[in-house]
Subunit: 241 residues, 2 copies
Amino acid sequence: MRYELYYWPSIQGRGEFIRLALEEAGADYVDVARKTGKGMGMPALMAMLQNQAQTRPPFAPPILKAGDRVIAQTANILFFLGPRLKLAPADEADQLWTHQLQLTIADFVDEAHDLHHPIASSLYYEDQKTEALRRSAPFIAERIPKFLAYFERVLARNPAGDRYLVGDALTYADLSLFQVMAGLRYALPRAMKRIAPNHPRVVALATRVARRTRIAAYLKSKRRIAFNEQGIFRHYPELDR
Amino acid sequence: MRYELYYWPSIQGRGEFIRLALEEAGADYVDVARKTGKGMGMPALMAMLQNQAQTRPPFAPPILKAGDRVIAQTANILFFLGPRLKLAPADEADQLWTHQLQLTIADFVDEAHDLHHPIASSLYYEDQKTEALRRSAPFIAERIPKFLAYFERVLARNPAGDRYLVGDALTYADLSLFQVMAGLRYALPRAMKRIAPNHPRVVALATRVARRTRIAAYLKSKRRIAFNEQGIFRHYPELDR
């Protein structure tokens, strides 16, 4: 099965959660909008989004094409890919628990995005900077610690040990938590230097994920887009208290 | 199976999406925090949230207890309940499509909440009213039409007809779309009077859901909490342009 990922070509964004799963699994996939040639590039992404014949249209990228199936919503794609890439447990209850964690990560990611876009995603950051400055204080003081303390608790209470969020093997939720930590450290290095040490299990998990053979190779490769100020995690020093 | 729903007792909130599914199915359930007596009420909800022995702790309500399973995240609970309450198709691909729609509804609901809380959920509306006023213009002009046009498109393209979002039978996603329409009409009656007629299939679906025997009975009952200014959908006239 060759998977096709349709996502914006110049940012990590929500597509990165899918890329990390495909990379860790060594899956055969093509990052359509980043390729050139026939049926590739931005025209292919736009065609996917505007396809009038699609009876189950996606609302927004990321979109995964797997054979004749077209699946959207990041957490939904990962729920689909999990068992197929051996990045989710086999048991239904365990799969729902993994998905529940992913949905909580998605909520965290939404809040991290809205840090720099509290008024409208259609406006530039510069046009909502005053509001973003106001939002940064409670996000850093309350929300980051609340979410990280939650995942710390999940790791501490895992009956199989604190190396993984679910059971004793890697899941896509671990990869996603790594990505959130990487993103927050890029966006808010000063705040994270202060907050992260309070959540040692989460920090250790992120470190272990980054050192996995395939993930380490991916992070060093050109396939990993650098963080930048068009994505979800943006470094605006004035927001980093 | 008697289901136990753990949710804040004084608001519809995200719990309402679960309540509607349980009500439509005529399921045996107890809305724990709204009951009095042993093991009920707010103490029971707080005990659920603070249970140190819970190896798979929820991040936030709503939480569903089904036998010995404890499940959180609204869309995840509905994914679990769907097939069990006959409110989701039997086929895996159809279930993921239904879930994808639910996750898109969840995104819409998050944005509707942040309309009145653009800075921090820990602050009162009054303390972020200036920012909320600014947020209301793009939310009404861009986001509501974008989401409603999307669901209109999904209905128009459904090969089985435009009565339901998925196939030719009711799913929890239809119930949830009804709830969003009801909420937006409560929160922003003037704006919705202008916008809703552009999306006639969505309007018709919401009307049909409201007229279903069990839903109509539920909406008239005391089990349906009235919309109010502590929930997700709040009526602040100054935001309704």
